[in-house]
């Protein structure tokens, strides 16, 4: 087992208990998704006020909700197309809330350089999701690129808990740009392959 695989397996243990509790209480997965974004707004407030440790703990709680909603939907037999749509739309709001919190923090401290870095990172974070969603309307799958939402969220937590948010923002920025580029290149190659196959 790899290191990241072991960390994932370890985290799954308490999450299974929470999923079981939500299933027993028959909490609708769409409600869990919505609660997740509300808690993320609170985390954004603490980021905006520079209280990173508190923001980190709140992000953990918020992302438990984000993570378990799909699993609860499966367990309850409540999987729906709208649920998938709702989840991905709400996830974008959660992402943006955290970035806006940081933009406020750096703007208040007069650091326009980091305001710009955060704003561009948030743009590419959004484009990461958009390129995949748009690509998958043209090709069956576009799951390439490293910087997806789980990576971004874990990086935010690492940045908050260890007070290294600037380095984390640089990582998110650079790898999100690469991810968007990967998805554009992958879609172009797949479409070209498909067109050549159709022409032959």
């Amino acid at each position: 087992m790899t290191f990241t695989g072991a960390v994932g397996a370890l985290c799954m243990f308490p999450l299974r208990l929470i999923i079981a509790a939500c299933v027993a209480l028959r909490i609708h997965p769409n409600v869990l998704t919505f609660v997740g974004v509300l808690i993320n707004v609170v985390a954004a407030y603490y980021l905006a006020t520079g209280r990173f440790i508190r923001a980190g703990f709140i992000m953990i709680v918020a992302n438990i909700f984000d993570f378990i909603d799909g699993k609860v939907a499966i367990e309850l037999g409540a999987v729906s197309k709208f649920g998938g749509f709702w989840d991905s739309v709400i996830d974008r709001f959660s992402d943006l809330a955290l970035f806006i919190g940081l933009i406020y923090l750096y703007a208040e401290r007069g650091r326009t350089d980091y305001v710009m870095i955060t704003a561009i990172a948030s743009t590419f974070a959004l484009m990461t999701s958009y390129t995949r969603a748009r690509a998958e309307s043209l090709i069956p799958k576009c799951k390439v690129g490293f910087m997806e939402r789980p990576e971004r969220i874990v990086l935010f937590m690492i940045g908050a808990f260890t007070n290294r948010m600037a380095a984390v923002l640089w990582v998110i920025l650079v790898l999100s740009i690469f991810t968007v580029a990967d998805r554009i290149i992958h879609t172009w190659m797949e479409l070209r392959r498909h067109e050549r196959g159709a022409a032959a």
């Binding site: 750096y106 390439v144 260890t162 007070n163 290294r164 600037a166 380095a167 640089w170 990582v171 690469f178």
Partner: protein
């Protein structure tokens, strides 16, 4: 990807790091995570002009201080 076969090993490594197609929990993913954590933790935050942590030591400096 067949186009990468003609590249030298370092160029191939760079290509695969850029054109990322690996799943989570693979050794390639672990390596990427280690590289990211090294970038985040090892250098002093002042190098990036961190508005919240400038002046704090990086992990390397912290370990060297503890060893002294």
């Amino acid at each position: 990807m067949s186009a990468t076969r003609a590249l030298t090993l370092p160029a191939r490594v760079l290509w695969h790091a850029f054109f990322w197609t690996y799943e989570r929990a693979t050794w390639q993913y672990d390596l990427m995570v280690i590289a990211i954590l090294a970038f985040v933790w090892l250098p002093p935050p002042g190098w990036l002009g961190d508005p919240m942590a400038s002046g704090q030591p990086g992990l390397v400096e912290l370990v060297l201080r503890l060893l002294r």
